[in-house]
C-alpha cells in the first residue's frame, strides 16, 4: 500500500501496523473491514462451490451427510453475519458517510475502531467452531434441534454471532448520531444523498432489531449450557417461540442487508445518466417505510409452522404491503434514465444488473407472501432462489457497483474499465445460470438443505452447478484487476466521474480529515440537470489534464 500512497492523503498519514490497527480514521477502519469482509466472502463462497459440486449429482458422494449439513450451515452464518450485514455499511458507509455530509470523521471514531475489533473477535470465535468440527443446525438455529439434538459447536457459533451483533449495534449508533449531528451547514435532510438516507434507515434497524437476535441466541446458549428449557416442550417451553424471536430480528435483518445496496444504486444511476434521481423524496421516504414495515412481517417465514391461520393472514397482508415501497423505488430508478445521457461504465453496468436481478427476486417475493403458494414452495429451492436473487443478485451486485464507483476515491487509482465490464457481465450470466434453475426446482418440489435428491431433479441442478463455476470466476476477477490497480492504475482526479456529492469535492484519496475547509451546501442532491449535459468523463489518458 505504501507504494500507492500519495502525499498528504489519509493513506500516507502514518504507516506500519500500528497506524492501521490502532487508527481512528474512519477511512482506515473502512479498509480494515474491507479486507476482513472480502476474506469471509470468499470463505463462504468456497463452501457454496463445494455444495454445488456435490449437488451436481443426485447421490451424496462428494461429502458425507454431516459434512454437507455443516457446509450449508456455515455458508449461511458466514455470508449473513460476517459478510452481508456489515458489508456496505462497514466498508463504503464507514468511508463515505462523513465525506458525504461534510464531516471530519464519524461522531465516535474510537467506537468505530472498537466495532471492528468486536467483529473480528466474534467472527473468529465462530470460525473456531468451524475448525473444531462445525455446526450443523442451519444459520437459523431452529429449536429443539439446536438446543437439544445438534452435535457440534452450536454454543460457540451462536456466541460468536452474538458478539458480532454488538459490532453492528455500535456501527448503527455511530451512524445515527453522525447523520443527526454532523451535517455540514446547509445540508438539510432533504438535500442528503440517498445513500445517507439508506444508511440511516439501516442503522435504525440495526440498533432496534439486533438486540432481539442477541436475546434469541442467549436463550439458546442458556438452554444448551444451563439446561433452562425455554424452547423445550418437556419443560413447559415452546419450540415456536424461538422462531418468533429469531425471525423478529432476521426479517428486519434482510432489510439491513439490502437498504444500503439500494442507496448505492441511487447514487450510481443518476451519475451515469446525468439526470437527477427521479422522485427523490419518494425514494427517501420509501427507504424509511421499508425499515418500519420490515418489523411487521416476520411471521411470513412461519406460515406452515403451526402458527394460527389468522396470524398467517395478517402477516401475508403486511408482507404484500412491504413490497410496495420497494416497487416504488424500482419505478423511480427506471425513470431516472429517461432523457439522460447514458453511458455504461462498470459501476453503471452493475447498477443496471442490480435493477434487473433485484426486481426479479422481489417479484418472487410476491409468490412467497401469497399464503397458498407459499405452502407449496416454503422450505424448497424456490425460497433459496428468491433470497439469492435479492442478496447476491441485488446486494452483492450493488456492493460491486459501489466498490467500483468509489474505488478512485478510496485509493486514488483507476482500474481497468475493460476488465470491470467483463467481470460484471460474467457475474450476471453466471448468477442467472446458477439461480434461475432453482426457481424451477422449488416449484417442482425439491426441498432445501438436501444433501441427496431424487434423480428427476438432476437436470436443473447441473445447470445451477455450472452457473456457480461461472459466477465464481466473475467474483474472482475483481480481486486481480482491482489489486493490480493499486500498483499500476492511473492516478484518479478528485472527481473522475464528474459526479455530484460532497465526497467528490475533495481529493482522491482524501486528506486525513477529509476537507481542507468545511463545505457549505446550497444545492439539492443530484443536481445533474443544473450541471448541464457536459459529459466530461475522466479517461486514463488525460490524467495530467484532469483534477
Amino acid at each position: 500500500m505504501t507504494n500507492a500512497a500519495m502525499p498528504g492523503t489519509y493513506l500516507e498519514e502514518g504507516s506500519g501496523p500500528r497506524a492501521w490497527l490502532l487508527t481512528t480514521d474512519h477511512k482506515r477502519v473502512a479498509w480494515l473491514y474491507l479486507i476482513s469482509l472480502t476474506a469471509f466472502f470468499f470463505l463462504g463462497g468456497a463452501m457454496a462451490v463445494l455444495m454445488r459440486i456435490e449437488l451436481a449429482t443426485p447421490a451424496g458422494d462428494l461429502v458425507s451427510d454431516d459434512v454437507y449439513n455443516r457446509l450449508f450451515s456455515l455458508h449461511g452464518i458466514i455470508m449473513v453475519w460476517f459478510f452481508l450485514v456489515p458489508s456496505i455499511p462497514a466498508t463504503l458507509g464507514n468511508f463515505l458517510l462523513p465525506l458525504m455530509i461534510g464531516a471530519r470523521d464519524l461522531a465516535f471514531p474510537r467506537l468505530n475502531l472498537v466495532s471492528w475489533y468486536v467483529f473480528i473477535f466474534g467472527s473468529l470465535f465462530a470460525l473456531f467452531a468451524v475448525v473444531a468440527g462445525g455446526v450443523d443446525t442451519g444459520w437459523t438455529f431452529y429449536t429443539p434441534l439446536s438446543t437439544l439434538y445438534a452435535n457440534g459447536w452450536v454454543s460457540t457459533a451462536a456466541f460468536g454471532v452474538f458478539i458480532v451483533g454488538f459490532s453492528t449495534i455500535m456501527t448503527g449508533i455511530n451512524f445515527i448520531v453522525t447523520v443527526h449531528m454532523l451535517r455540514a451547514p446547509g445540508l438539510t435532510w432533504f438535500r442528503l444523498p440517498i445513500f445517507v438516507w439508506t444508511l440511516y434507515a439501516t442503522s435504525l434497524v440495526m440498533v432496534l432489531a439486533t438486540p432481539v437476535l442477541a436475546a434469541s441466541l442467549i436463550l439458546i446458549v442458556l438452554e444448551r449450557v444451563f439446561g433452562i428449557g425455554i424452547f423445550n416442550p418437556d419443560l413447559g417451553g415452546d419450540p415456536l417461540l424461538f422462531q418468533h424471536l429469531f425471525w423478529f430480528y432476521s426479517h428486519p435483518a434482510v432489510y439491513i442487508m439490502i437498504l444500503p445496496g439500494m442507496g448505492v444504486v441511487s447514487e450510481v444511476l443518476p451519475c451515469f445518466s446525468r439526470r437527477p434521481l427521479f422522485g427523490y423524496k419518494a425514494v427517501a421516504m420509501s427507504s424509511m417505510a421499508i425499515a418500519v414495515f420490515g418489523f411487521l412481517v416476520w411471521g411470513h417465514h412461519m406460515f406452515v409452522s403451526g402458527q394460527s391461520a389468522y396470524a398467517g393472514v395478517v402477516f401475508s397482508f403486511l408482507s404484500f404491503c412491504v413490497a410496495i415501497p420497494s416497487a416504488i423505488k424500482v419505478f423511480n430508478w427506471s425513470l431516472t434514465l429517461r432523457k439522460g445521457e447514458i453511458s455504461f461504465e462498470t459501476p453503471m453496468l452493475y447498477a443496471l444488473f442490480f435493477l434487473a436481478l433485484f426486481t426479479f427476486g422481489g417479484l418472487a417475493g410476491l409468490f412467497l407472501a401469497s399464503l397458498a403458494v407459499d405452502v407449496h414452495v416454503h422450505d424448497t429451492y424456490f425460497v433459496i432462489a428468491h433470497f439469492h436473487y435479492i442478496m447476491v443478485g441485488g446486494m452483492v451486485t450493488a456492493y460491486m457497483a459501489g466498490l467500483h464507483f468509489w474505488w478512485p476515491k478510496l485509493t486514488g487509482r483507476m482500474y481497468s474499465e475493460t476488465s470491470g465490464r467483463i467481470a460484471a457481465t460474467v457475474t450476471f450470466i453466471g448468477f442467472n445460470l446458477t439461480f434461475f434453475p432453482q426457481y424451477v426446482l422449488g416449484f417442482d418440489g425439491m426441498p432445501r438443505r438436501y444433501h441427496t435428491y431424487p434423480p428427476e431433479f438432476q437436470f436443473w441442478n447441473v445447470l445451477s452447478s455450472a452457473g456457480a463455476v461461472v459466477l465464481a470466476i466473475g467474483y474472482l476477477m475483481p480481486l486481480f484487476y482491482l489489486g493490480w490497480s493499486l500498483f499500476r492504475g492511473a492516478r484518479a482526479p478528485g472527481n473522475p466521474w464528474n459526479a455530484t456529492g460532497l465526497e467528490w469535492q475533495t481529493s482522491s484519496p482524501p486528506p486525513p480529515h477529509n476537507f481542507e475547509t468545511m463545505p457549505v451546501v446550497t444545492r439539492p442532491a443530484y443536481d445533474y440537470d443544473m450541471k448541464g449535459l457536459e459529459h466530461e468523463r475522466f479517461s486514463p489518458h488525460q490524467e495530467e489534464a484532469a483534477g
Binding site: 481512528t24 462523513p98 464531516a103 471530519r104 470523521d105 464519524l106 461522531a107 465516535f108 471514531p109 474510537r110 449495534i169 448503527g172 449508533i173 455511530n174 445515527i176 448520531v177 453522525t178 443527526h180 449531528m181 454532523l182 440498533v207 432496534l208 432489531a209 439486533t210 438486540p211 432481539v212 442477541a214 436475546a215 434469541s216 442467549i218 436463550l219 442458556l222 444451563f226 439446561g227 433452562i228 428449557g229 425455554i230 418437556d234 419443560l235 413447559g236 417451553g237 417461540l241 424471536l245 423478529f248 480529515h513
Partner: protein, 211 residues
Amino acid sequence: MSGTESVAFDTPQRERRADTFAMWVFIGSEAMLFGAIFLVFLVAHIDFGPAFAAASKHLSLPLGTFNTAVLITSSFTMALAHMLAVHRRWRAAAWALAATSALGICFLIVKGIEYTKEISDGLAPLLGLPFRYTGPDPVHAEFFFGLYFTMTSLHALHLIGGIIVIAGMIALWPTSTPANRLRRVVALGLYWHFVDIVWVFMFPVLYLINR
C-alpha cells in the same frame, strides 16, 4: 479540535449533546433486548397464569423489596453525582459515584444470597440440578424459574457493566478534563437510570403476581 475528545466535533457542548443522544439510542437498543425477554415472559404468564403465580410465591419478597429500595437509592445518588458535576463540585461528585457503585454491589450481593437460597431449595432448573418444587404444575413452575434466572441474571450483568464503568470513571477522574467528566456522568447516568427502570418493571412482574 477545541477541547473535544472526538475530532469530528467543533465544541464540547455539541459533543456532550452527541454523547447523550448516542446513549438514548443505545437505551432504545437495550429496551428491545429486555423487551424481547419480557414479551416471552408475558406470553408465558398469560398461558400459565396459576402455575406462575404459585411459583412466584417461592421468591423472597423481603429481599426483593430491599433490593428495589437499594437500586432506587442508587439512582438518587447517581442523580446527585450529575447535579454536583454540573456545579463543578468534582470531589463530591466522585463520592456520589462511589456511593452509587457501592449500592449496586449491595444489590448484587443480595441477589447472590437469593440465588444461593433458591439453588439450595431445589428451585433452580439449571445445570441439571434437581428440581424439588412441591406445588401444582411443576413443569410450568420450572419454566417460571427458568425465566426468572434468565431475566435477573441478564439484569445483573448490565448492573455489573455499569459498576465497572463507574470504577473506570473514578479511576480516570483526576486526569480527565471537566468537560469530559461532565459528559461521561450525564451519559452514564442515563444508562444507570435505565437499568434501574428495567428492575422497576422486573420486580413486580416476577415477585408481585397475585399477591
